[in-house]
């Protein structure tokens, strides 16, 4: 077994040396394809972080009718308190809202101080507990509150969050589609590389079969060659993606923080990194497997 493994490793190194140029072309192609995929993932991961940061900041503001009765307020407060997902409740009366508004805008426009009445409604401000389903919880409570008497309107930025969520779904599908197409392309390229490697040494492989080599003995080094192509290719691609991440962080972190407080440029998550490495190994293996199987079939007795 040990001699089999050693021989497979030696033959793989020999194959790579003998077909250096084709091998490097193949690695370069894998690198380019996985860099593209990795950059898409990088964009996706960061947009996802942004979305979850916004999700955390989302609050449900319940604006009340001016003529809401005390009983109606009690009913609303009961609903809030009985909802386990609600973390805190604060109440802003009309007067408090107006005072805060004036404090914020008095210096900016005379119109605010000149206005002879208070146009702002009283409101409840609900914060929700940390939960991956936070937005769903907010929506459910909002749907329930819509029907309640004394509620004038609800505000939680639903429309733009929905749009953003839809965009993320689209991005996910897009990345998967691009990944799928790139994978098929890579399998064909690796398959052709190994095929070239086989055909350039066809006499040697034929001789191996004549001398009594098992199919496993012939397959192992070629499969290993495909795997090595995959591993080196994805390693270089991840290196490029990491450099891009460092560059972005170094140059644009300040700008990002000034727009979105507390948001940091993220690198690919562990599961994504592993998915890319495994996908590359799988692609290398399948590419090699296809061409070896084709070669061995061509040697079948007629």
């Amino acid at each position: 077994m040990i001699s089999f493994v050693l021989n497979a490793l030696r033959t793989t190194v020999h194959n790579i040396k003998a077909n250096k140029q084709v091998f490097l072309m193949s690695v370069a192609t894998i690198t380019i394809a996985f860099t593209i995929q990795g950059l898409f993932f990088l964009v996706f991961v960061n947009l996802n972080t942004l979305l979850s940061t916004w999700d955390k900041q989302v609050q449900l503001i319940v604006y009340l009718d001016d003529g809401i009765s005390k009983g109606q307020k009690n009913v609303l407060e009961e609903i809030f308190k009985s909802n386990e997902k609600v973390d805190s409740i604060s109440y802003d009366s009309r007067d408090e809202a107006w005072t805060e508004f004036k404090n914020t805008f008095s210096g900016k426009s005379g119109f605010v101080t000149d206005l002879g009445f208070n146009p702002l409604p009283a409101s409840y401000n609900l914060k929700f507990k940390d939960d991956p389903e936070r937005l769903v919880n907010i929506r459910q409570l909002a749907d329930l509150l819509k029907e309640q008497k004394g509620v004038e309107s609800l505000e939680y930025g639903e429309k733009w969050i929905s749009r953003f969520e839809n965009f993320m779904v689209f991005l996910r599908v897009f990345i998967l589609a691009v990944g799928g197409i790139l994978s098929v392309g890579l399998i064909l390229i690796i398959s052709n590389t190994i095929k070239l490697s086989i055909y350039s040494r066809r006499d040697e492989f034929d001789l191996m079969l004549l001398l009594g080599a098992t199919h496993r003995f012939i397959k192992a080094p070629l499969l290993l060659e495909g795997l090595v192509q995959g591993v080196i290719g994805v390693g270089l691609a991840l290196g490029i993606v990491k450099l891009t991440h460092i560059y972005m962080k170094f140059n644009f972190q300040g700008s990002l923080e000034s727009i979105f407080r507390g948001v940091d440029f993220q690198f690919l998550t562990q599961p994504l990194l592993w998915a890319m490495v495994l996908a590359s190994i799988f692609i290398g293996w399948v590419g090699s497997f296809l061409s070896i199987t084709q070669y061995l079939h061509s040697t079948d007795r007629e």
Binding site: S3, F4, N7, D203, E204, L207, M208, L209, L210, L211, G212, A213, T214, H215, F217, L296, T299, D300, R301, E302
Partner: protein, 218 residues
């Protein structure tokens, strides 16, 4: 022992490559297989070591029914046979020693065994002094002796030599023939395909004659 029963093989041309070929070769025999070019000698060899299949008939080599083996089990047959070709089929980028050792690596021998057996095989063909040379640096006769060493190194009981002296001058051809005879004296069954009349006349071995795919003498 090799037993062939009514072998028929056609490549789709007008005349079949082999027609109704039957023969038996006992263990330890030395047999010349002869016939004109295109008579079917190489086809018969290819069938014996499982490189080609037969359309009809059966062939049994050392109790293995060749036709019943599937592609992934053919190695069990091929490891029992040492094959020598007219064009040597040596790997030009490997040294003489590596070429012979290659056959041992393929069957998964350990390093120590490979070294010992390869040296022994080279000694048998008188090529130990050339062990570090590359095939293109050798004469035709020397290259053929390397090919014979490679066929011998796994200690097969059957040697198939397909026109092994076809590219060699008569003197060297005789040396090669003597090598095969030496193997035969060591107990190996040897089938040597040749259409060299000098060679056939020089020795009194059993003769199988193929003519246009038919066995006319067995």
């Amino acid at each position: 022992m090799i037993q062939a029963f009514n072998l028929h093989k056609s490549y789709g041309g007008v005349a079949p490559a082999l027609m109704d070929v039957s023969f038996t070769i006992q263990d330890g025999e030395f047999v010349f297989l002869t016939g004109q070019s295109g008579a079917g000698k190489t086809t018969l060899f290819k069938i014996l070591f499982g490189w080609e299949s037969v359309d009809r008939g059966q062939v049994i080599v050392d109790r293995i029914n060749v036709g019943k083996l599937n592609e992934s089990n053919l190695y069990t047959l091929r490891r029992k046979i040492g094959v020598v070709f007219q064009d040597y089929k040596l790997l030009p980028k490997k040294t003489v020693f590596e070429n012979v050792a290659f056959a041992q690596q393929i069957i998964g021998a350990d390093r120590k065994t490979i070294r010992f057996k390869t040296w022994d095989a080279l000694k048998n063909v008188g090529l130990t002094t050339k062990k570090d040379s590359y095939p293109p640096q050798l004469s035709g006769g020397e290259q053929q002796r390397v090919a014979i060493a490679r066929a011998l190194v796994n200690d097969p009981q059957l040697i198939l030599a397909d026109e092994p002296t076809g590219n060699l001058d008569p003197e060297v051809s005789l040396e090669i023939l003597e090598l095969f005879e030496k193997m035969n004296q060591q107990g190996k069954t040897v089938i040597m395909a040749t259409h060299s009349l000098e060679m056939l006349r020089a020795r009194d071995h059993r003769l199988l004659i193929l003519n246009r795919g038919r066995m006319v003498q067995s």
